[in-house]
């Protein structure tokens, strides 16, 4: 497991430059999350970058992850998550819960 994570971190390195951070990006467009399902490594702290392409603000909220953050229109924000146990973690946009729904899958 440790080895796999190390490999993952190593693979991420040339893309983002920082060895310690494992970053994932989530896009909000038309009050929807893209991708709606995001797979991330378990047992490791990750940095989630949420990019809001809509003109209005959205609140990234998750009871499962115990996180909430308002993201202004046309801007992005970063949220630290984990280390997570393997499993599924639902999240939603509190300002548009009808359409903005997603799941984080920790493996």
């Amino acid at each position: 497991m440790k080895l796999r994570l190390a490999v993952l971190a190593l693979a991420a390195m040339p893309l983002w430059g920082q060895a310690a951070d494992v970053k994932f990006t989530l896009v909000i467009e038309n009050h929807r999350f893209q991708p709606a399902e995001l797979v991330v490594p378990a047992h490791q702290k990750i940095k989630l970058i949420v990019e809001n392409r809509d003109t209005t603000a959205e609140e990234f909220e998750s009871y499962a992850l115990n996180r909430e953050k308002v993201i202004a229109g046309k801007s992005s924000a970063s949220i630290w998550i984990g280390p997570l146990k393997p499993g599924k973690y639902g999240f939603f946009g509190d300002f548009n819960p009808k359409t903005a729904q997603g799941t984080l899958i920790a493996k």
């Binding site: 115990n66 308002v70 202004a72």
Partner: protein, 278 residues
Amino acid sequence: MFATAIIVFREVLEAAILIGILAAATRAVPRRTRWLLGGIAAGMVGAALVAVSTDRIAMAFSGVGQEIYNAAVLGTAVVMLAWHNLWMSSHGAVLAAEARGVGQQIRDGRRECSVLLLVVGLAVLREGAETVLFLYGIATSAESGTRGMLAGGLAGLTAGVIAGIALYTGLLRIPLRYLFKATSILVLFIAAGMASQATRFLIQADLLPSLAAPLWDTSGLLSQSSVLGVLMHGFIGYDARPAGMQIVVYLLVLVSIGWAMKLAGRPKKVINEGGRKA
């Protein structure tokens, strides 16, 4: 419109709980209504300003400005609530005994009122900024537009205010002597809950370790999105999946304010025994 009302209600409820309790706790303090309303007004103005500068706040401190801002607002509120409770512990007995008109004799009355203004202002500020952003989004959406925003917003606000007033009138039924004790205990748990929330924001910003995330999961037992869950969150800071660090801070704040309240309630006796007239 209904969904809008629900979200606004949820935001207003948390502030309404705190304001209802504080209004009951300070009922014998002269001119406290003016200070309370002043706090609400100041909080609303502040909320609008914060909402307008959300992106700038978020960008500060390399992307974790919003967490630091939230933690600072909550942290300040915790300190002010602690101060309020200590003041109540040392003056509550006098207030209860001479409730009618003798309030002016209390030297720190004005300072307690400015603390009241600040705490109420911070509560409104925190819940208000999110509400403003949310309503703005609704107003500019093609589906609902300004009318839907106004109707839903007003319905949610009214429901929240009614809940606060209901709590206030309920508390007023408690005899004055027990009222201070009851409100002090409520405020103590609210302060600990706010400290736990502040901690969560600092963990989210990677400024504090989580210790265990989560330490336990009681979401199956009491969901945090349920009505009871939201109420328990407002009253005792209920969190279905708290991080270990949140619990550490929660207990630390609970014990230290509780202990300080005991100390603050005691010195009067010592002074009396020392021969000074109270």
